[in-house]
Each structure stands twice: as structure tokens, then as C-alpha cells.
Symmetry: C2
Subunit: 480 residues, 2 copies
Amino acid sequence: MAEQPKLAKADNVSEWYLSVVQRAELADYAPVKGCMVIRPNGYAIWENIQRAFDPRIKASGAQAAYFPLFIPQSFFAREKEFAAGFSPECAVVTHGGGEQLEEPLYVRPTSETIMYHMFAKWVQSWRDLPLKVNQWCNVVRWERRTFPFLRTLEFLWQEGHTAHATKAECEEEVLRAVRAYEDFFLNDLALPVRIGRKSDGEKFAGAVYTLACEALMPDGKALQSATSHMLGQNFSRESAFNIAFQDQAKTTQYAWQTSWGMSTRVVGGLIMVHGDDQGLILPPRIAPIQAVIVPIWKNPEEQAKVLEAVERIRRRFDEAGVRVHADLREQYNPGWKFNEWELRGVPVRVEVGPKDVAKGQAVLARRDVRAKEFLPEDGLVARAKALLDEIQKALFQRALDYRESHTYEAKTLVEFADIVENRRGFIHAAWCGKRECEVRVKEETKATTRCIPLDDAGGHAACFVCGEPSTCRPVWARAY
Amino acid sequence: MAEQPKLAKADNVSEWYLSVVQRAELADYAPVKGCMVIRPNGYAIWENIQRAFDPRIKASGAQAAYFPLFIPQSFFAREKEFAAGFSPECAVVTHGGGEQLEEPLYVRPTSETIMYHMFAKWVQSWRDLPLKVNQWCNVVRWERRTFPFLRTLEFLWQEGHTAHATKAECEEEVLRAVRAYEDFFLNDLALPVRIGRKSDGEKFAGAVYTLACEALMPDGKALQSATSHMLGQNFSRESAFNIAFQDQAKTTQYAWQTSWGMSTRVVGGLIMVHGDDQGLILPPRIAPIQAVIVPIWKNPEEQAKVLEAVERIRRRFDEAGVRVHADLREQYNPGWKFNEWELRGVPVRVEVGPKDVAKGQAVLARRDVRAKEFLPEDGLVARAKALLDEIQKALFQRALDYRESHTYEAKTLVEFADIVENRRGFIHAAWCGKRECEVRVKEETKATTRCIPLDDAGGHAACFVCGEPSTCRPVWARAY
């Protein structure tokens, strides 16, 4: 635990965040600017996210696979919008094995091109569809402004890629994927998200349209937390990757495609939304350690009795399926340990001292509201499990309340600019749908459309920018 | 299932191997020469290897983490032998974000340098030791001759890196790691391996010494399947990465280090050692699917009865913890399915036809020796589980028998060269320990020392190359 000063979250969210990332040893700065080292405390969170989400990916029928890191530069040119969007962000390998390469290689910023080159080989007939694969891997995008977890030059993610015989099946998959992310964010990460469709200006380069989950951060900025792209036949058409197949009537068709992804940036979202002045607060479902047991004793006689009880309690938690850790280190006192485990965000702490042992009880402390209860040892596990559920729900509710109280409506650009600057949060504002109005808003306020809610049926007031009839009412915000 | 011709393993191991990799859809060639796509059937094997081995890594006290892909070129120069060994093999990023970089970046061929740069920041006191981390990631080495799984430009692996306060603790860790690999190879992968110490000419660039697991492939070549390096203070010394700490007496010391790794090449080892003319044979402990159920029926009436029994049996297998799959596809007949699942190496097949249903029985077929048994449905799961154990043991025994019958002794270089060329396998031959004799053997026979068994106490005949007194008796072979 580094000895940086403790910072108040409300004073400066960014500084507080950077301090928590360092003090809780979640990540560290790497020698290459914009890269980060994910330290064990941070990586354990990502591992739990993988462990919780991967079975859902597999249940959707997507199979795990691995495609190469290096992509020939020429592949990018096959889909023009994709090339325009991603080529400038790529890291380029020009030499290998001591020699200059004939064709430079891009380090994957995302794997559409390399995957679809292979899909074209594998898909011949309608029988080969749907083809659904997913990979967990690293990707590189040469970002100018970086921030640990939220935006780094290299990051870890999963990317699912599917090919279907029909447009209807493809659209069903796009929606399924974004709903799967939404469910995961709400239930496992306790992160309320708004889902909706991206504007044409904000969609994925190469997509027909993009659906996204947007979370609200405590500084009022939106965090795009997962995306699901309807790629149509943009990549499968003959002039791109030529993923052609014979349908049941023996006619040549081009596959309909989707891609969807979620990255290590959600770890940043978790830290930001749930943490407090003491440090991290982890939702129990995703916490690497759900309960930590801290023994309290002053002399060897007390120590023996306390440690016996601690081991008994630890075993009971473990047998009940709670991820438990007993902190038996002798070089630190209980107060120091309390601080450390609070900083690291462990949802529940069990304290066992000599008086507790004598009374056959223990103390149960919850991290989120810092309250304590005394409980007989026999009822401890059951109460702790119930408490973990309560904490999970409470964290979600707190985040939801925050979002609700920081969601505004704006009818004019003046009103909009004032909210962005002074109240911060999500803004509902009707829009004509024209790119020029969106650009103007961004230039004047740095806010953009985050998503157009899926149930938006139109019929709103005039566009808050140009006053012409609106086509939709997006959620707007500044974004990470 | 691609329609390549079936090849006999004994005729040409390499061609047979490449054919199985393609036909069983384990991997495919990527557009960048030397890279491969790991397809779902192949990746599922790697996932199971990770699932089985990762808990052992964690139990050893190593924590999961993630370090950057890109390493500043200058880092390599800090350890001269390491730089000489790895720099020529690196892929080099020279441009990022549309601009030429000030300092080129190496794509990690292994992560000693980047990790130890961070270790130096994190380690200050003896209290910070031991420091043990592991990462599962991709690495790149610009190989000239590549072969799917066994040697590819990019591959996946785990790399464990540890730092210790004392040399004794460090050496204990080096040995622990290689023993952990050995145990995993023997028990989970059914691969008999010889463990021992590498000669100075064959050790890891930058290591004091290297311990390795060597498996014998069916063409008589050795496959280095995992390595554990004693790095001493080569990377921690002040002129390298300066991982200095204060010991309990407040004296400055440099950490003692190890690194150890295992890669996707073991998937290649599995294919080669266990497979036969029908295709892959997977050891049950690592097989993604342990039992496949194939229904047999001719008309809708039979189909209904058979499928009911299949689902009942599938559920029983599943409840018993067997990884089971029921192949209900209607576009393929049972014979086609038998072939496909044999090709894919599923250890046990269950056949259920209308006559079986009438008799309350099913057929159990084992993949390794292609034998069948008829069993009452009630006893099916218990017998299948026992059979999976038998197959696991039988595969190991077959591989061990092969190795024993292909392990030779040589007293002269003429004899040695004849064995290498005509009998192929592991050769025990006493050696003076001098690099020049090892080089001569390699030039004349393409064989090298694979490892010096850990229990080699000396006292052998004269060096088979120069006739001078020997210092040890290594295992020699040609190697992948």
C-alpha cells in the first residue's frame, strides 16, 4: 500500500480515481506512454469479469478461438469507413527478424478484417451458418490522451464476431448481445446503463448501426461500456472480404454480420462509480475477495484462541461458497488491516477478538456504509451471505439514484450548455438527426449524443439546436 | 470437416500431423506467414489446459497480472545475453498514430525486461518478497521455419516470474515449477517427459541455468514442452534492472529470480503423441468433450424413442460431471458422425439405437483402441467414468512404452549418428561438457543435448565425441 494522501472523491473525481488506482495497487504506469501494467489486485477483478461473462458468451453459441495479432496493412483498405476510422490509430510493425517487411503489419485495433478473411474460407453453404466466435485478447489503439483502464494504448477485451444467413437473424444477434451486456452490468457489476443506438457520427467505423451501453460516471461524464455492431454486408460483400454462401435455393448470398465487445475499461467504470473516500468498493458478485477475516489479539494466549476461531470461521465461509480470505499477517496491526481492506474494496469484513471468542460471536462490518453488527458465530455465514446480497443491491440503487438525480432535460442550446457545464450528467434533448447540429453541440459544449434509447418512437419537441422538427431524443453527455 | 485425404501416421508423421490439424479444424494458416488461427476445436483444448493448470499456478502463490505488449528497445540491452538471444527475433513497431516513434518498440518475445523494470519499483524491502506473478498472454518471435502449434511466429503461453530474497529460495522455486509442469504433463496430458538441466549452449539467454521438460515425438524428435529458468541476479543487479531491497539487517541486496513458461506448443505435442490414422485422440482429463452421444434411427417413431433415451443419458452424464455432448444434427448420418468424433479425438462415444432402447441398453465405444461394449443404461455412467480413467492411463502407458523402446545408448559418434538417422529417439551418451563437442554433434547429426537428468551424478564412460573424461550423460535428440 503506497503512502499517497487520501483524497476526497467529491473534490476532484479524476485525481481521486488516479489515487485509488495507485494506492489500491490496481494498475501502474508502464514505461511506454499510454500503456499500463494491470497489477494483481486489478487483474483479479478482470479475471472475475471474464469468469462471470464468458459462460454467457458460450451459452449464446459463440465458440472461443484465437486470431493473430498482426494484420496485413492492405486488409484495412477493403472496407473504406473502417480504414478511415482505424488506420490512423494503429501501431505499425515494419521490421521482423532483423529485416524490413515487404508489407507493414498493423497490430490489431479490433479483429474484423483478419477474422472475416478467415470466415470467407470457412463459409461456403448456409449449413456453415451461423458462425459465431469470440476471443479474449489484447488490442492496441494509439490514443493521444490516456487514463488508466478507461483509455489506454493497449487494452484487454473480448470481441465476438458472428455471420448469419439473414438480416433478421443478424439484427436479433445485435440486440441479444447488447441485452446480455446490459444484464451483466446491472446484475453483476451493479452499474446502471442506458442502452440505445449510436448516431451515425458516433457509430463504429464500418457498421450499419451500433448499439451501446452507456454508464454515468460521478463527474457527469458518460462511459461507453460495451458495444454491439450491426455490420450488415459491409465486410462480407465481394469487394471487401467476400463471405459468400449458397443458400438453400443454391443462390449466392453474402453473410450478415455482427461484432460486439467489452473491455478492461469496465474495471475503471466500477472503480469510479462505486468507490468512496476510503478507496474501492467492489460489488460482491465480482469481488475477488468477498469477505476478509481480521484477527485481533494482544498476547500469545489470546492469539491461539482467536486464530482457532478464525480458521473455523474461514472454513465455514469457504464451504458456503463465499470467497474468503483470513489476513493472518503479523507485521501489521488490525487497524492497518482494516484500512487496507477498505481501500481494496472488500465488501464484508469479519473481526474476531478474544472477547468475541469468549462470547461465541464475531463482528460483521459492511464496506459500503461502514456499519457493524455483532453476531453469534453460528449465524455468521448466513447473515454474511444475506449481507452480500444487500450490498450488491444497495450499490446498484445508489448508482441508479445518482444517475436519476443527474439526468436532465434541455430545450435550448443555452440551457443545454449550462447543464453540461454546471450540473453535469445525462441530458435528454430532442434532435433533428443532422450531423451539423451534433457537431455544433460538440464544438460548443464538448458533449455528444451517447445513444438514442431503443424505445424512442419520435414525437418530441423541436431540435434544441436548430429548431427544426426532431427525429429522436438522444441521451447526450460529455464522454470518456 | 474438410475433405482432405486420410493419411497414415507411420508413413510421414509431419504430413499426417498437418492433415489432422486441418481436418479436425484445430488451426488454420493466417495471412501473415508463420502465424496461425487457433480454431474453436483447437482453442477448446488450450482453454482446458489453462483451466487445469492455472489453479496450480495460483496455489504456488503466483498472482495473475498483465504487463504491456510493447517494450522499449533499450530495455533489451540491459542484459547482454538476453539481448543477443532475443533482439534478432523481435518484431519491431516503428510507427504509431501515424507518426514515427522516437524509440522503436519491441513486441514482447517474453516479458523479463518489462516485468523487472516494474519489479524494481515495487520491491524495496525483504517484506516485499517473494514477489510472484504470472500472466497468460501472446508473445511474438520471428521464427524462420514454422509449424502449426509447435513453432509459430505468435503463440500463446503463460509466463511466471518470481523474485526472492535468497538464492536457496530461488532454486527451490525453479525446481518447484519444473516439477509442477512434469506432474501436469504426466497426469493431465498423458505425456511422459524427461526433466533435466539444459546445457549452457541450450539454456535460456540470460539464465544461470534452465530446467526443462522434454517429450519424445513419434518421429523421434524431442519437444521442449516447458522450461523453468534460474536467472540468479543477472536481471536484478544494479547495471540491469536494479531490483534492490533492504534485508532484515538493513543491508542492500539484489533479488534472486526465476521465470517459467508453457505454451500452445503443448497442444501440438498432444496431437502428435496420441493421435492415430483416424485423427486426434485426446486424453480424457483435457478433452473438451469427454463423451459424445450419437442417436441412431430410421423413422420418426424410432427417432422419438431414441431421442428421449439420448436426452436421459446426456443428463445423467452431465450430472455425473462428465463433459458430454449429444450430436442431434439431422443432416448427417451416424456413420459420418462416428468418423467426425473419432477425427476430433473424443475419448468415449455412446451409441443409442431403437434396439438398444428396447433392451434398456446402450453401446459404449472407446476411441483409443476402437472397442465396443454393450451396457445396461443404469450402469452406463459408472462404466464410462471408469473407462475414461482407463483411457487416460492407457494413453500414457502407450506413450511411455514408445519412449522406452526409442531410448538408446551410444558410445561413439558413429554409433550415435546411425541411431539419429535410422532408429530415432532419445539417446543417452556421455559428454565432456564442452561446447565444441556439442556443436560438432549438431553439425554432423542435427541432434543436440535436450537435458541432463537431475539425478545425473557423473561417473559415466568417456565423452562419445572427443574421448576425454565425461562430466555427465545428457539425453540427446533432434528437436522441434
